[in-house]
């Protein structure tokens, strides 16, 4: 109880620091004072003002929202499958969303139409639900989790392959951006899409938070959850829709981002030493935000001015976390 609240407090603090670091650090060097001035007094030189307000702040905000949303989505999926290695990326949900978004973009851009942010989210949601549906059908047939994860990874590969294929042959200059996006990146975030992004993610996360009670009942397994008065079918549908919605949102805006969805919930469990969703959901959001902002900052700075894809950075930092967790689990079971 205490530990949960303390963790939330600590994470809020970390998040403030991460946001400040994300705004302060960049390929264009500025003094702390200048940045302070620009953020709080909207002063300073035009270029610097533009860099901070139109590039860095939206980018950090996007990383905050999307990273947090992705972690919560991972937590929901882990609850649903009652398995700690479930996540939107390994189950192929992100890749499904990526494929439909790429398709939508190519089809529409090819006809000279532009696609709205909302359209992207819808397309991503459709793709996420399709992959999810496929994984679900498999999960009803085969009750084996490792099989399911392997299938998810396969689905991911197929979707990525088709996306690559589409992107390669689309060949249009308009679609140059698509290439960056399909690898996952926070570059080019603007204020225009922010309300939609913030709205969707906040809605999804808050809704998830209010599912804390049935989720914690569900953690004891279906039989007991039902006995506690939980409508199992309803909860399962909500879990699926919410997790797909959150990861679809992330994919629509920033492309697929790997491993945040698996690793962050685990890190948060180790931090809070508890599995209570009441604390874990806020912690996942905050922790996911912190880690994604930091990873994005690394992606920007490590080889500046060349940017790394966000997934490469998250993979490097988070895969060891996932492996450690799996080793621990295996040991615990022996």
């Amino acid at each position: 109880m205490k530990r949960g609240l303390l963790s939330i407090g600590g994470l809020v603090l970390l998040l403030c620091l991460a946001v400040m670091a994300g705004i302060y650090l960049g390929s264009v060097r500025m003094s702390v004072l200048d940045v302070w001035n620009i953020v709080w007094h909207k002063g300073g030189a035009d270029t610097a003002y533009h860099i901070v307000w139109d590039i860095r702040i939206p980018r950090v905000l996007a990383a905050l929202l999307l990273g947090g949303g992705l972690s919560v989505s991972g937590f929901l999926l882990q609850t649903f499958f009652q398995n700690p290695i479930a996540g939107p990326y390994v189950l192929g949900i992100s890749s499904g969303a990526k494929l439909t978004v790429a398709l939508a973009m190519i089809v529409l851009l090819g006809r000279g139409l532009s696609i709205s942010a909302f359209g992207m989210v819808v397309a991503a949601f459709v793709g996420a639900m399709l992959s999810m549906g496929f994984v679900l059908v498999l999960s009803f047939r085969v009750q084996n989790m490792s099989f399911l994860v392997v299938c998810g990874i396969m689905i991911g590969y197929i979707c990525s392959a088709i996306t690559d294929f589409l992107v390669t042959f689309a060949g249009d200059n308009n679609i140059v951006n698509l290439h960056n996006w399909s690898k996952g990146s926070f570059s080019g975030m603007s204020w225009e899409t922010m309300p939609l992004m913030a709205g969707m993610i906040v809605l999804g996360v808050v809704f998830s938070f209010f599912l804390s009670k049935p989720i914690s009942a569900y953690q004891l397994g279906e039989t007991y959850a039902r006995n506690m008065g939980v409508n199992i079918k309803g909860l399962r549908i909500l879990l699926i829709v919410l997790s797909s919605l959150l990861s679809a949102c992330v994919t629509a805006f920033a492309g697929p981002i790997s491993f945040v969805g698996i690793a962050v919930p685990h890190l948060m469990k180790s931090l809070t030493k508890s599995a209570r969703p009441l604390f874990l959901i806020p912690c996942c959001f905050l922790g996911g935000a912190v880690i994604t902002i930091l990873c994005d900052t690394v992606a920007r700075l490590a080889f500046a001015p060349t940017e790394l894809s966000i997934s490469s950075v998250t993979a490097i930092f988070l895969v060891p976390v996932v492996i450690t967790m799996m080793v621990k689990k295996q040991r615990g079971r022996l």
């Binding site: 006995n227 506690m228 599995a275």
Partner: protein
């Protein structure tokens, strides 16, 4: 008024009916136990009552209402469960697991109030699970887990408890412990318990009503006294006649075949060890002479190649003594379980002396070396 009732209930998976036309009822304060072979459908009945499976015909009642008309919330307030599946709740302490029993009473976010936590501790006290309260559930033993799960069901504070094999995999101490808790719940708190058990001795000890489930229907309903008699168990479990003793609840391995090698003279408690040793070593033996109410009688009948016996309280007849002497001749050794013979045991004294004359009598100690 009955708290649990089945009326011509059919249960099964999907469309496949496992058991049909079940009718039974359980009142307040009653313990009703399902026994029967593995796969006979005991769990299927329980799963139907907790609405995990839909009834395939007939009606199941919990309280006054048919379960089909009870909402999830109402069900949660009416009955609580302990099922067999292994739970793996991550990072949950035992107290937290028990606390989930209070969920039907909590608000939107599932936060427990002071009163709820008191109930949680009360339930844990009741099943002696207090010392593990702050341990992680996954780190305690199976027996302790079962106590915790029972506490969880208890603090849900429902009239009806459904327990699926609550004592399986537990050692004798935990078995007794769980039984004590169930008795307390039923007899002092007036709860109704419907459960399945594999341990016939426990079922007999705790149940008010026993239902024999045989894979098609409930073949017999009755009090333990009505169920544990004759060859009911042998028929229910499809085992050889006399391999289960309804009087003591003991089970016996099939008797060794072949010509008898040993003769165990006399009956009484001491002969039980001898019978079981000889039968275990596959040494065929005869037993006698003993009265039909002797503690060793049913084991002698079940495991000895031949058993010389007489109605209780009567002296052994000459004919039986003569045949026993013949048996002594056929055996390689004889052993007596008696240090002396009473006035009505003249027959045993005769057989004992006969064996002694023929130098076949050996000490009990020597038997253990065979």
């Amino acid at each position: 008024m009955s708290q649990i009732k089945a009326e011509h209930l059919s249960v099964g998976y999907g469309k496949k009916i496992v058991l049909s036309d079940l009718s039974f009822a359980a009142d307040k304060g009653q313990v009703v136990t399902l026994i029967g072979p593995n796969g006979a459908g005991k769990s299927t009945i329980l799963k139907t009552f907790i609405k995990q499976l839909a009834p395939l015909g007939g009606v199941a009642y919990v309280g006054e209402k048919s379960i089909a008309r009870l909402s999830e919330k109402e069900m949660a307030l009416q009955l609580s469960v302990v099922m067999t599946g292994r739970l793996k709740p991550e990072l949950m302490t035992c107290r937290e697991v028990v606390a989930t029993g209070r969920y039907p009473y909590t608000g939107r976010l599932g936060i427990l109030g002071k009163e709820d936590w008191l109930r949680v501790d009360e339930a844990m006290h009741m099943v002696h699970a207090m010392e593990t309260a702050d341990c992680y559930f996954q780190q305690i033993s199976d027996g302790q887990k079962q106590r915790v799960m029972l506490a969880r069901a208890i603090c849900q504070d429902t009239q009806v408890l459904i327990l699926d094999e609550p004592t399986s995999y537990l050692d004798i101490r935990y078995k007794l412990d769980i039984m004590e808790s169930i008795r307390l719940l039923a007899k002092e708190k007036g709860r109704t318990v419907l459960m399945s058990l594999h341990e016939l001795d426990l079922a007999r000890m705790i149940s008010d009503v026993i239902l024999c489930v045989d894979g098609e229907k409930i073949s017999k309903i009755g009090s333990p006294e009505e169920i544990f008699q004759g060859t009911v168990m042998e028929t229910l479990y499809h085992i050889k006649e006399r391999s289960y003793d309804p009087v003591t609840g003991a089970v016996y391995l099939e008797r060794a075949k072949g010509a008898p090698q040993g003769f165990v003279i006399g009956g009484g408690g001491r002969s039980l060890a001898l019978y079981s040793y000889l039968n275990r070593q596959r040494i065929p033996f005869v037993a006698g002479l003993l009265w039909e109410d002797d503690v060793a009688y049913s084991m002698a009948v079940a495991t000895a190649g031949q058993c010389f016996s007489q109605k209780s309280g009567y002296p052994f007849p000459q004919e039986e003594i003569r045949r026993a002497k013949e048996a002594v001749d056929a055996c390689l050794f004889c052993v007596s379980t008696k240090s002396g013979f009473g006035p009505l045991e003249e027959g045993n004294r005769i057989v004992y002396n006969y064996a002694k004359e023929r130098n076949k009598l050996i000490d009990e100690e020597e038997v253990w070396q065979k």
